[in-house]
């Protein structure tokens, strides 16, 4: 990541935000101009979505803080030691939440401001309204500044999704290769498994900003959320299959060879739909293959050709293969419905390398 370029642009954006905020406060003759200027700068973030998220959180936390602070201040009375004590409690909580939750930090800072003004005998509902008004103005100015000096679009979600799709495919192929004759490309499997474990966390963090990145497209936000959920589920099924096959006995599954291979191939070809420009509906095919596999396993178990252990193993494998294909089908359907400029990976980005 080129942090130099990001920091230069953010600095420029901050300068523009201050200039705009100064202009607005003079135009509207705001009494406490510094609040608007401060907010305009501190809610700026590296991406458009994060800036909006911070602005929204700041306004919401300030509103809640003013209301709660006003109530607590009335209850606490005018005893100076109580107010100083509450000031210290607010500082403690603001610091505690710093770096963990911006909303909670701002909530406690706002209550702190209420008590500070109360100590100075300046607190009134008018002050609360002024702070709220200035916070909203500051937030709007910050968003306007991101229009003038636009930040980079957040593309982490796009990268995460594409990574997880590729890793899930590789993981699934390697898991199935342990029980049926398939070519799985062994070299990336371990790295992919590690990546599958860690990417889920970053995916969630980046997905949390996605609604703000697409704030003007609520339908797209819902579809992206579904895609993220299904991608996580896809990864989990692939991992669970990898765990299961560690205890499978391929030689005992030989009587089921043709059915198992057909189901595995159908599931793999379903995951390849993630990398296809014109995806076909593979879910029904996987379902059919897995039904046939389970039926055949049941017959063989009744005739004593395979044991109950193998039947249950097949039952698990079939269940997860069907779920994998269902996840892929939903991801592909959502991707098809999203606009071309949405921050989601295109089919070509999901191609497994090698």
């Amino acid at each position: 990541v080129n942090t130099l370029s990001i920091d230069l642009r953010t600095s420029l954006r901050a300068a523009v935000a201050v200039a705009m905020a100064s202009g607005v406060v003079h135009l509207l003759s705001l009494q406490r101009a510094y609040w608007a200027i401060m907010v305009a700068v501190v809610v700026l973030a590296e991406t458009w979505g994060s800036s909006i998220q911070k602005a929204v959180q700041r306004v919401a936390a300030t509103t809640a803080g003013c209301i709660v602070g006003w109530g607590v201040q009335r209850l606490a009375g005018s005893a100076q030691w109580v107010q100083v004590g509450l000031l210290l409690v607010c500082i403690f909580l603001a610091i505690y939440f710093r770096g963990y939750s911006y909303s909670w930090m701002m909530f406690w800072i706002t209550i702190y401001v209420v008590f500070l003004f109360s100590l100075l005998h300046e607190w009134s509902v008018k002050i609360a309204l002024l702070r709220l008004e200035d916070t909203i103005i500051g937030g709007l100015v910050a968003i306007a500044a991101t229009f003038i000096v636009p930040p980079a679009r957040a593309n982490q979600l796009r990268t995460d999704l594409a990574d997880l799709w590729r890793c899930s495919q590789a993981q699934l192929a390697s898991a199935l290769a342990a029980i049926v004759p398939l070519d799985a490309g062994e070299k990336e499997v371990e790295a992919c498994r590690d990546n599958l474990y860690s990417s889920v966390e970053t995916l969630r963090a980046h997905a949390a900003v996605a609604p703000y990145e697409n704030i003007l497209r609520p339908l797209a936000v819902r579809r992206i959320r579904v895609m993220v959920e299904q991608t996580e589920a896809l990864g989990r099924h692939a991992l669970l299959l990898a765990e299961l096959v560690r205890f499978g006995s391929p030689h005992r599954l030989r009587p089921l060879g043709p059915e198992l291979t057909a189901a595995a191939r159908a599931a793999l070809s379903a995951t390849h739909q993630l990398a296809s420009e014109s995806p076909a509906d593979c879910e029904a095919e996987v379902r059919r293959a897995c039904d046939a596999l389970e039926k055949r396993a049941g017959e063989l178990e009744r005739s004593g050709e395979i044991d109950a252990t193998e039947l249950l193993f097949i039952c698990s494998v079939a269940f997860h293969l069907v779920r994998v294909s269902a996840c892929v089908a939903r991801i592909v359907a959502m991707r098809r419905q999203l606009p071309a400029n949405a921050e989601i990976p295109a089919a070509r980005e999901a191609v497994v390398s090698g």
Binding site: T3, L4, D7, L8, T10, S11, L12, R13, A14, A15, A17, V18, A19, S22, A33, Y34, I37, M38, V41, V42, L44, L88, I91, F92, L93, I95, Y96, R98, G99, Y100, L116, L120, D194, Y197, S198, V200, E201, A233, R236, H237, L239, L240, E243, L244, F247, E294, G298, D307, A308, T309, L311, L312, F313, C315, S316, F319, R323
Partner: protein, 352 residues
């Protein structure tokens, strides 16, 4: 607190910040000027947050640079008070500088913005000369207070805090396993562990933030290994959610022996998370030690119970789900052993 601050790092830091603010207020109180006391206290709290860096030397440098830079900025801001054009130009430049300064902060933390907030307040509230100088000096006075409190009073040992955070994580994991054991004991539906997984994930994320403070050192590599294992523990719980969905849809009474075996497996796994990794001797639980789980024997127990049910085909998915749960219980215990081994890394013990 256990979930979001498992190493109690944030509680300690917030407490120390309050101590530094109180010291600052006590020191500046004799000046008899509430505005100066307020600036001093705010600056002290702000400098306490300027602690980015891996080594202590780096952190000292960051805090000192922040203190000196903020004092200069605040002095300049106070100096511009009353001159509209100068003040506006100053604020524009100050905002750009504060964001640019972030480039030189090791973890690109945005505490540099506190300098901007203090500068805006100085520009607004400062009076005529020599008030800007006084404000600049009281802000600078926050630096030695923050420096002494941060580095010499109850200083954080991140490897130690990390070990405490891992223990909190293990305790939470055991607690969540308890929910699974209880529901199996009472033949109830499997508990919805979505909330439990979310809290484990939050604990993991909070623990992971501590590894950034140890990067580059041997202890940092050991910590990274532990976090990777913890991540696998969390994913095991998520996988459990996937696998038990089918089992919860059916009365488990038909598979009583299988359920009892899985229940016992989770009890053993929980014990290993609470008391430490299992002994290598099989069936050690009889002698009071935690037994090592064998996934294959668990699988066979469930399969035998399944086979003994007449017309057992309808129970296949429930039995398969129980096998998956058993595998995951064994996997969890295996991960617990690996975590214990990773925590025994000499680098960790030296750092403690």
């Amino acid at each position: 607190v256990l979930v979001n601050d498992p190493g109690f790092v944030r509680v300690r830091h917030a407490t120390r910040t309050i101590v530094s603010v109180a010291i600052s207020l006590v020191c500046l109180h004799p000046l008899g000027n509430p505005l100066l006391a307020l600036f001093g206290a705010f600056a002290t709290a702000a400098f306490m947050q300027a602690n980015s860096g891996v080594t202590i030397r780096q952190r000292m440098l960051v805090m000192s640079a922040m203190g000196a830079g903020t004092s200069l900025l605040v002095f300049a801001g106070g100096f511009c008070h009353g001159h509209r054009v100068a003040a506006e130009i100053f604020l524009i430049v100050a905002a750009a500088i504060c964001f640019w300064a972030r480039h030189y902060v090791p973890d690109r933390n945005l505490f540099t913005l506190y300098a901007f907030v203090l500068a805006v307040l100085a520009e607004t509230d400062s009076g005529p000369w020599p008030q800007p100088l006084w404000i600049g000096l009281v802000v600078l006075s926050g630096l030695p207070i923050a420096f002494v409190v941060y580095f010499y009073i109850w200083p954080p040992s991140f490897p130690r805090r990390f070990a405490i955070a891992v223990r909190s994580f293990l305790t939470l994991t055991a607690r969540h396993m308890n929910g699974i054991v209880t529901s199996l004991e009472r033949r109830r539906r499997w508990p919805n562990n979505e909330k439990d997984v979310a809290s484990l994930r939050a604990t993991l994320a909070a623990t992971d933030t501590l590894t950034a403070r140890m990067k580059g050192a041997a202890v940092g590599q050991a910590a990274d290994r532990v976090v990777r294992l913890m991540r696998r523990v969390v994913v095991c719980f998520e996988l459990l959610e996937e696998s038990v969905e089918a089992a919860s849809q059916r009365e488990l009474n038909d598979l009583a022996r299988a359920v009892a075996a899985i229940e016992n497996a989770f009890r053993e796994a929980r014990a290993s998370f609470l008391t430490g990794p299992p002994a290598t001797e099989p069936r050690a639980s009889a002698s009071g030690q935690v037994a090592e789980l064998d996934p294959e024997s668990l699988r066979d127990t469930v399969a035998q119970d399944f086979k003994s049910i007449p017309d057992h085909a309808r129970d296949a998915r429930a039995a398969a789900a129980l096998i998956e749960a058993g595998l995951l219980a064994a996997r969890l215990q295996e991960l617990r052993v690996k975590i214990a081994i990773a925590l025994r890394d000499p680098a960790f013990n030296e750092a403690r």
